[in-house]
Amino acid sequence: MLSELPLLSLVIWLPILGGIAVLFVGDENPGRAKALALTVAILTFLAGIPLYTAFDAATASMQFQEFLPWIPAFSANYHLGVDGFSMPLILLTAFMTVLVVIAGWEVIQYRIAQYMAAFLIMEGLMIGVFAALDALLFYVFFEAMLIPMFLIIGIWGGPRRVYATLKFFLYTFLGSVFMLIALIYMYNQANSFEILDFHKLPLTLTEQVLIFFAFLLGFSVKVPMWPVHTWLPDAHVEAPTGGSVILAAITLKIGGYGFLRFALPITPDAAGMLDWLIIALSLIAVVYIGLVALIQQDMKKLIAYSSIAHMGFVTLGFFIVFGLHRSTGSLSGAAMGIEGGMVQMVSHGFISGALFLCVGVLYDRMHSRQIKDYGGVVNTMPVFAAFMVLFGMANAGLPGTSGFVGEFMVILSSFKAGFWIAFLASFTLILGAAYTLWLVKRVIFGDIGNSHVAELEDVSNREIIMLSLLAAAVLLLGVWPDPLTSVMHATVDNLLQHITATKL
């Protein structure tokens, strides 16, 4: 019965239409606009739950498929479907949006209806990116996302918001237009925009390399990978809390997802040939960006750099499989790399979102993000301090939290590929612990830093709700990752079979 319903369309269009409805309720009725936005966000999340419960983990084929002709002249179709990669990310998106709506509840005073609407529309578009099985449809969602995020940072952001949002927009736009040309080129070869047809498309090595670089440009900006990461700290610092949460928790994952859906299966030979490049960039992100994070004075900037370092782990996990396959000839450890990357993505979604929310909680009270303005927060906000320490530990990769699971899996599989890769990758455990714990130490612990800190009030019920939801997710995934990993086994195996078979 549930599979009869167009569930994916529902979770895409419900928030988009809901967002438009919120716009029409208008800024004149902030209360009703907020209530409607929350209802829509929760309904979307509820509508997404059957995607998990009715998901068949035994198969790697696309599920919940929907197919409608869209632009027949170019055989582009409205084709949706999910597998073990996209389904968890869709749920993550729906979950985080609920939190973002709650987080903006009392904080946003200016044009609250537009704010809520932007996030709801953003949610629909992001889910569309994950669900699209047609390359053109994917691209449309992928690019359309820029509009709401551009507005979110630009309207509700900090003092340098215009610079940050323009940089964000143009960086991402530049990256993705090359992807568009690659898609058009492949359409001319395959006469179809189906992503699954692209997977089967035979391509020469030169074509593969060029297409791979086009994808790399598009997705590495989104992830972001060193050296195209510079937009992220700016965007994060200037964005309102909700914008930072969505950026860190979801849009970065779209870059990682893009590698899994496009770059790896479409150009396996090029990816195998150039895996050293991605691994090198990932390790630079892990080590160098980790060091950069250490010296940040701004809490949001620190978490932003930490995000880049953690995403380096994701790309490392995805690309380690080639070396592993070459050196061992088997795929046994490779699955762990990709699964580790996926777990890391979901877990980082929770943790980075939580940390940005924590910074938001502090910022709402003190209107400062500078670490030096804080100190001894635990004395005035004990409940908040408990949450912040938990998320800090999770960010550092403490066993028992979700942060540990993904990092451990990736390091384990990179050990099989080469000692030095694993050695460098494990720096993240040291550096991550260093910058996160030092942040927590300077902000939370110690004596009360100044009179403003002394006047702080502890978290409200609204804030407790959103933080404890995330805390539960972080702990649950940390001690029992099986619900997440079990749904992707079949998909990962299928991907590995595909990418290790040459296309030449």
Binding site: A73, Q114, A144, F150, I155, F178, L180, I181
Partner: protein, 479 residues
């Protein structure tokens, strides 16, 4: 000597516009200023009537009349329909603007109608003579329209500039026509096409004729390096005239290029393809780069037009049916966007205040959220962001050039559209991120509001579902 009357039925819409334009001219003489809305109403009625006539007499197969000088086919019908609709929208948006500036005169609408007639002739021209006839009818109307505000020195200067440069371009065009006539012995495009096809090697005179013809056409299109007039005219002319020049004439220019280059000189495709590549690359590059430096919104839109013309040429130079379809789709979508953009600029102007600068858009979201939203949709569409019609327009022309193996051209195109995105975003930035500098409420008549809303929403609808218009363009070019 026996006289054979040509078949007049294929030119029924043109005859209707001609008759009505003359009638409006006469009727207007007997009206007082406060009754001027009758002139306006009649002009709108003419355009809508012509649109209905075009729909009612749609051509199944191409018909030529006037001894081969005139053709009625599906492409012509489609373009003429959009010419009429775009001009009607231009009149509608301009109405209040003209009233506030004492420009609400009969001449304005009569000239506008004659311009529409010129465009219709251009669209349906099937010989080099009728091409020239239509072009001059349009151009002369436009020269006068630019100068319609007699007391404005800027407008007079713009009109003068336009007239001198336009005449030069017409001279080039005529010279090219004479050479082609010399080489092929006819001005009828069908005969020209046959003669060109018969030639084994390309004739030097013919190629020279092509070059001059192309110079003239590029001038009318506003392609770099023949674009100099465009920014000055857009800026100098009253906004309502800039709106008129910026919209429907581009459709006619597209038709002109199709008729002359593809239908007439299709045999020389390898020659004009090279030239169009140069024109297209230069237009895209210069248009997008220089637009960044503009602070005047009309001037910025002028440079944006130049870059859009470059993209339009990409589809034509591909030389494939898909490419022509892509260009036609681009032209129609472009007109929709241009009408919308200038429409919003006009609506922001009030008595004693011209919205000229990008800064005048500051805080529009606070003053009128809906208008700001429409403008944002137009700007994003021009930048080629998906979910909006402009994305598909860019996408189909890029696809056409990738199709013929010119991937580098597509890369140039997308690179410059990223650069171009910046100045469109700057308008959005002003509207949404800045605080308003003026607090006067924006008053818009109900009908104009509906029209501008439909305009913006159409960009979204076409963005979500471009199939209908795309199939229409493909079908129109099929026969």
């Amino acid at each position: 000597m026996n006289f054979v009357a040509p078949d007049f039925t294929p030119v029924l819409p043109e005859l209707f516009v001609l008759t009505m334009a003359c009638a409006v001219l006469v009727i207007d003489v007997f009206l007082e200023q406060r009754q001027r809305h009758i002139t306006y109403g009649l002009a709108q009625l003419t355009l809508l009537g012509a649109a209905l006539l075009i729909l009612a007499t749609r051509a199944q197969a191409p018909v030529t009349t006037m001894f081969g000088h005139y053709i009625k086919d599906a492409m012509g019908d489609t373009l003429k329909l959009f010419v009429c609709l775009a001009s009607a929208a231009a009149f509608l948006y301009s109405r209040d603007y003209l009233r506030q500036r004492d420009l609400f005169k009969g001449e304005y609408f009569v000239l506008g109608l004659f311009g529409v007639l010129g465009m219709m002739v251009m669209v349906s021209a099937h010989s080099l003579l009728s091409v020239y006839l239509g072009l001059e009818l349009l151009s002369l109307s436009l020269y006068a329209l630019v100068a319609v505000d007699r007391d404005s020195p800027v407008a007079s200067e713009a009109a003068m500039k336009y007239f001198v440069l336009g005449s030069l371009a017409s001279g080039m065009l005529l010279y090219g026509i004479s050479m082609i006539y010399g080489a092929t012995g006819s001005v009828d495009l069908q005969v020209v096409a046959d003669a060109v096809a018969k030639q084994s090697s390309s004739d030097l005179v013919l190629v020279f004729g092509l070059v001059f013809l192309l110079v003239g056409l590029s001038f009318k299109l506003g392609a770099v390096p023949f674009h100099m007039w465009l920014p000055d005219i857009y800026q100098g002319a009253p906004t309502s005239v800039a709106l008129y020049i910026g919209s429907a004439p581009k459709l006619a220019a597209f038709a002109l290029v199709m008729r002359v280059l593809v239908d007439g000189l299709g045999g020389l495709q390898s020659d004009w393809q090279q030239m169009l590549i140069i024109l297209a690359v230069l237009s895209i590059a210069l248009g997008n780069l220089v637009a960044i430096a503009q602070s005047n919104i009309k001037r910025m839109l002028a440079y944006s037009t130049i870059s859009h013309i470059g993209f339009l040429l990409l589809g034509i130079l591909a030389g494939t049916p898909e490419g022509y379809t892509a260009s036609m789709f681009y032209a129609i979508v472009y007109v929709l966007m241009a009408v919308g953009a200038f429409g919003v600029v006009i609506l922001l102007s009030r008595t004693g205040f011209e919205a000229e600068n990008i800064d005048d858009f500051k805080g529009l979201n606070d003053r009128s959220p809906w208008l700001a939203f429409v403008m944002m949709m137009v700007m994003m569409s021009m930048a080629g962001i998906p979910f909006l019609a402009g994305f598909y327009a860019k996408w189909v022309v890029l696809q056409a050039v990738v199709d013929i193996g010119l991937v580098w051209l597509a890369i140039v195109g997308v690179l410059f559209s990223v650069i171009g995105a910046f100045y469109y975003l700057r308008v959005v930035k002003c509207m949404y991120f800045d605080k308003p500098e003026q607090s006067e409420a924006i008053e818009i008549s109900r009908d104009v509001e509906i029209a501008i809303s439909a305009n913006g929403l159409l960009l979204i609808v076409l963005g979500l579902y471009p199939t209908g218009l795309m199939a229409w363009c493909a079908a129109a070019l099929l026969n």
